[in-house]
């Protein structure tokens, strides 16, 4: 096991974590402010990815695809919020789970209807498709560096937005004390729609960027949705800071589990055990981590509700 | 003096930088009605939560019936006989008055890990519930759904639920909150009748009621009990007067009250 490999995996973990953060940030805010469990969040990710892939294919430009796709997904998210999701805010969690689960099913089938069952291909722009030499002997894909850069930029922007603007203050107030925020004159309806739109945009961004790495196909939202929920539960619902920390932790643990754990297992317990137990253990690792966190901190690392 | 039924020693609760309960001491004698008063924000609700077990304490001790209950859960304390009622009504809205109270009786009578025989068939339990309902003035409202009761009736049910558990100590959090004069008088009568039968710790803002009922009064200010004594002692206490400047206490004319 050499240092280069570890460094590479750490960067992969960082990249994964930051992408997860894009998904988790919107999810935790929706949950924290509107007190709504939104299983359709993964659908926004999927729709975003599909839009970006289609526009990229149509225009030949990844950047055009990314730009218009993100906007398109945001619009879709806002329309969804206004038409259906708004009615679920006051309902109990079971109703929200089932209602958004229904939307998830409908989105999956609609996408299948429009684009078919075959995965779409999405390629990174030519400029970013090669490796970058970070220091002698160590090269890392330019595209992944780009993802890390975008992720960090978004995190920074969100921080600025939430900590230093009026809207951000309203968001923070809404996340910790909804009634108080309402009493203070926040136009709650508009705030909700805004938060939802931003969340949808972030999802689409993540979907578009991950598209070249993972597949753009129906059902891509589900697996990452669960991870996003794990992230916000670990981080504490309503906390963007928690979402970042949780996402980074989950990203690193997942990556380490997938790549490093089997290596450890091979050395410790032999190749056969490693190939059998390795994948299972690494998938389970995240959940064990979440269960452990919840055991000691039943409301996550940074519970934001009073 | 006999050993107190409830004894609180240097109880502390902090919320970040705020010390809500600041080394509070309290002794409650068996069979008496003990009132806990204090200006708004004094920490009465927090203290009640700590005594009932809804909130853990940072330090200090709570001794009840010679058990150290400081670390016990709320349901363990209730089973020991320390039962509370809530300031914000917390009843079973979709159940009838009788069912509400019958549940409370069920809690302390035998195990509820019975899976086959009908709970409804326990006539005795329902009759006990009926008796409690009558006692709190809901004898004619037995079959009414709790959520359909008037506010005052719901407060009566609130106390009834606690009473049905046949507690050794009743912890009542503003039982008369939001009640009109007639209802208040009825509640005062009810609480008065409990003297000797059950020990009562009463948190109240209604000073008339407090002075009518309480054998002993403790005054809580900024999480500390600054005075404990009978009605006259409390009224004469200078630090109490200072604490209550401008609050409920001022309007009460000393000469109006008979010792």
């Amino acid at each position: 096991m050499n240092a280069i490999l570890i460094l590479e995996q750490m960067l992969n973990g960082l990249q994964m974590g930051l992408m997860l953060f894009l998904l988790a940030a919107g999810l935790t805010l929706v949950f924290g402010i509107m007190d709504m469990i939104n299983l359709a969040h993964g659908s926004l990710y999927m729709v975003g990815a599909y839009l970006i892939a289609s526009i990229t294919a149509a225009t030949g430009s990844f950047w055009a695809g990314l730009g218009f796709g993100v906007v398109g997904a945001a619009v879709f998210g806002v329309l969804l919020e206004i038409s259906i999701l708004r009615r679920l805010y006051q309902r109990d969690h079971v109703s929200q789970v089932l209602g958004t689960f229904a939307i998830l099913l409908m989105c999956n089938e609609s996408v299948r209807l429009i684009w078919g069952s075959q995965p779409l291909s999405l390629n990174p722009p030519l400029a970013l498709s090669g490796p970058v030499e970070i220091f002698t002997g160590f090269s890392y894909p330019a595209y992944r560096l780009f993802m890390i850069a975008v992720g960090l930029a978004v995190a920074g922007l969100l921080y600025l937005l939430i900590a230093h603007t009026r809207i951000g203050m309203q968001v923070r107030a809404g996340a910790s004390h909804r009634e108080m925020a309402m009493a203070m004159g926040t136009n709650v309806q508009r705030l909700f729609t805004l938060v939802f739109g931003v969340g949808a945009a972030l999802c689409a961004l993540a979907g578009g960027m991950l598209g070249p790495l993972l597949a753009v196909q129906v059902g891509m939202g589900e697996s990452i949705l669960i991870l996003a929920f794990v992230v916000i539960v670990i981080g504490g619902i309503g906390s963007v800071r928690g979402a970042l920390l949780g996402a980074l932790l989950v990203g690193c643990i997942d990556t380490a589990g997938r790549t490093l754990l089997p290596l450890v297992l091979v050395n410790v317990a032999g190749a056969e055990f490693a190939s059998n137990a390795g994948p299972a253990l690494s998938s389970i690792l995240i959940y064990i981590f979440m269960a452990t966190v919840l055991f000691f901190k039943p409301r996550g690392l940074f519970p934001s509700h009073g | 003096m006999t050993k107190p039924l409830l004894h609180i020693e240097k109880l502390v609760k902090r919320f970040g930088g705020l010390t809500a309960t600041d080394h509070a001491d309290l002794s409650v004698e068996k069979g008496k009605i003990h009132a806990l008063i204090g200006p708004n924000g004094a920490g009465k609700t927090t203290l009640i939560a700590q005594i009932s077990g809804a909130m853990p304490s940072d330090s200090g001790r709570i001794v009840f019936a010679r058990h150290d209950i400081t670390k016990m859960t709320m349901d363990e304390r209730a089973r020991l006989g320390l039962v509370r009622s809530y300031q914000i009504t917390s009843i079973f809205g979709r159940l009838s008055v009788l069912e509400n109270i019958a549940l409370a009786v069920q809690a302390i009578e035998g195990s509820s890990f019975r899976f086959w025989s009908s709970a409804r068939s326990e006539k005795e339990r329902y009759e006990k519930a009926h008796a409690v309902a009558q006692r709190v003035g809901l004898g004619t409202r037995l079959t009414q759904l709790a959520q359909a009761l008037s506010h005052g009736e719901q407060r009566q049910l609130e106390v009834g639920l606690a009473l049905a558990s046949r507690p050794q100590l009743l912890l009542l959090d503003e039982p008369m909150a939001g009640m009109g004069p007639e209802e208040t008088e009825r509640m005062v009568g009810l609480l008065d009748s409990l003297r000797g039968e059950t020990t009562v710790v009463l948190v109240e803002h209604d000073m008339d009621a407090v002075f009518k009922l309480a054998d002993k009064i403790s005054v809580l200010v900024f999480g500390k009990v600054i005075a404990s004594g009978n009605a006259q002692e409390i009224k004469d206490n200078p630090s109490v007067k200072v604490a209550y400047l401008g609050d409920d206490f001022q309007h009460l004319n000393v000469s109006q009250v008979t010792p």
């Binding site: 469990i37 679920l88 309902r91 969690h93 079971v94 109703s95 789970v97 089932l98 689960f101 229904a102 939307i103 998830l104 409908m106 089938e109 299948r112 669960i226 929920f229 539960v233 059998n276 994948p279 299972a280 959940y287 979440m290 269960a291 919840l294 055991f295 039943p298 409301r299 | 009932s52 809804a54 349901d75 209730a78 509370r84 809530y86 009843i91 079973f92 809205g93 979709r94 159940l95 009838s96 009788l98 069912e99 549940l103 409370a104 069920q106 809690a107 195990s111 509820s112 019975r114 899976f115 086959w116 009908s118 709970a119 409804r120 006539k123 009759e127 004898g139 037995l142 079959t143 639920l161």
Partner: protein
């Protein structure tokens, strides 16, 4: 003395024999009807509905009556099913040995999962049950010896003896029906007993129950374990019905389907699971004849139910009955 018999209440449930008995008669007659028409395909399909009804009813116990939103219930189906399949692979085909073992194992696992999960509330509970289910799902996929991703076939259906031959679809049908009927009878007794009253009251106002002196955790855990065990039984029947088990039956979307059945049928109504399973599977059957994209229609129906009939079909039926 006032009449102490409280009015019909949220806590009390009946078997509603007025319509359930005729319905049962119909179910009993179904295989005979199928035979006379010469088409026994529907017997297998009906068995599937019965087993799902059993599974959904077990979820209804904790979700509808206990207020515990468990998103990992399908995992218990899987454990029951896999236990039978694995035992069968190792030569144990007798139902008298395999089935109790399967149910016991499922009960044990649900006890453990419940013990950890029930410490949390609200969405955290939902997430942690989901997490545990995912863990089991991935665990099962990784067991190459038992088929891994591809699943495991059963060489035959469990042997019962005494003239009962489960390889005969009709026998399996009647056995499943018997299991469902027994489960319903047990459930109505349980709900009307002290335990059921306590459980439902916990759903209504958990904090007050604790304040009254009920050890709420124990009741929830007991209900959770019981529900898991019954789901294990349903899993056992599935394994026999399909002759095949696979990790797919433990996916979280399957848990979602079970929840859909419960809400469709009516959360907290005795027959909510049964009605929901029937409605769901009929809907699935009907829609899939029209289009490949039947899940779109299913989603739309579910959404409509959530938005406009949150108490499910049962409450719609009740409302209609009271207007007659």
């Amino acid at each position: 003395m006032a009449d102490l018999k409280p009015v019909p209440s949220v806590l009390e449930h009946t078997l509603q024999l007025r319509w359930s008995l005729p319905f049962l008669a119909l179910l009993l007659a179904l295989p005979l009807a199928a035979y006379s028409v010469g088409d026994t395909f529907y017997v297998g399909m009906a068995t599937r509905v019965l087993v799902f009804a059993l599974a959904a009813s077990s979820l209804n116990l904790i979700l509808g009556f206990g207020g515990m939103v468990s998103f990992g219930h399908a995992a218990f189906l899987g454990i029951g099913a896999y236990s039978v399949a694995i035992l069968m692979q190792n030569g144990i085909a007798s139902a008298w040995i395999a089935w109790p073992l399967a149910i016991l194992l499922t009960a044990l696992v649900s006890l453990l999962i419940g013990w950890v999960s029930l410490r949390t509330q609200g969405v955290y509970f939902i997430m942690i049950t989901l997490a545990f289910a995912q863990m089991l799902y991935y665990l099962v996929i990784s067991l190459k010896a038992y088929g891994g991703d591809d699943g495991l076939s059963l060489a035959a259906r469990s042997s019962v003896g005494g003239g009962i031959d489960l390889s005969n679809d009709v026998h399996l049908y009647y056995l499943s029906l018997g299991a469902l009927v027994m489960a319903m009878v047990f459930m109505v007794r349980l709900l009307n007993a002290r335990f059921g009253h306590a459980l439902q009251a916990i759903r209504e106002n958990e904090v007050r129950m604790t304040a009254l002196g009920f050890a709420v955790f124990r009741y929830k855990l007991a209900a959770f374990t019981l529900a898991g065990a019954v789901a294990g039984l349903a899993g056992v029947l599935f394994a026999n019905l399909n002759g095949f088990v696979s990790p797919a039956m433990m996916q979280w979307s399957q848990s979602g389907m079970l929840m859909m059945m419960v809400i469709l049928g009516g959360v907290g109504h005795l027959y909510g699971g049964v009605i929901g399973a029937i409605a769901f599977l009929l809907l699935e059957e009907f829609l899939s004849h029209y289009t490949m994209h039947w899940q779109l229609g299913l989603g739309a129906v579910l959404l409509a139910v959530v938005l406009f009939a949150p108490n499910g079909i049962t409450s719609l039926l009740k409302r209609k009955a009271s207007h007659d």
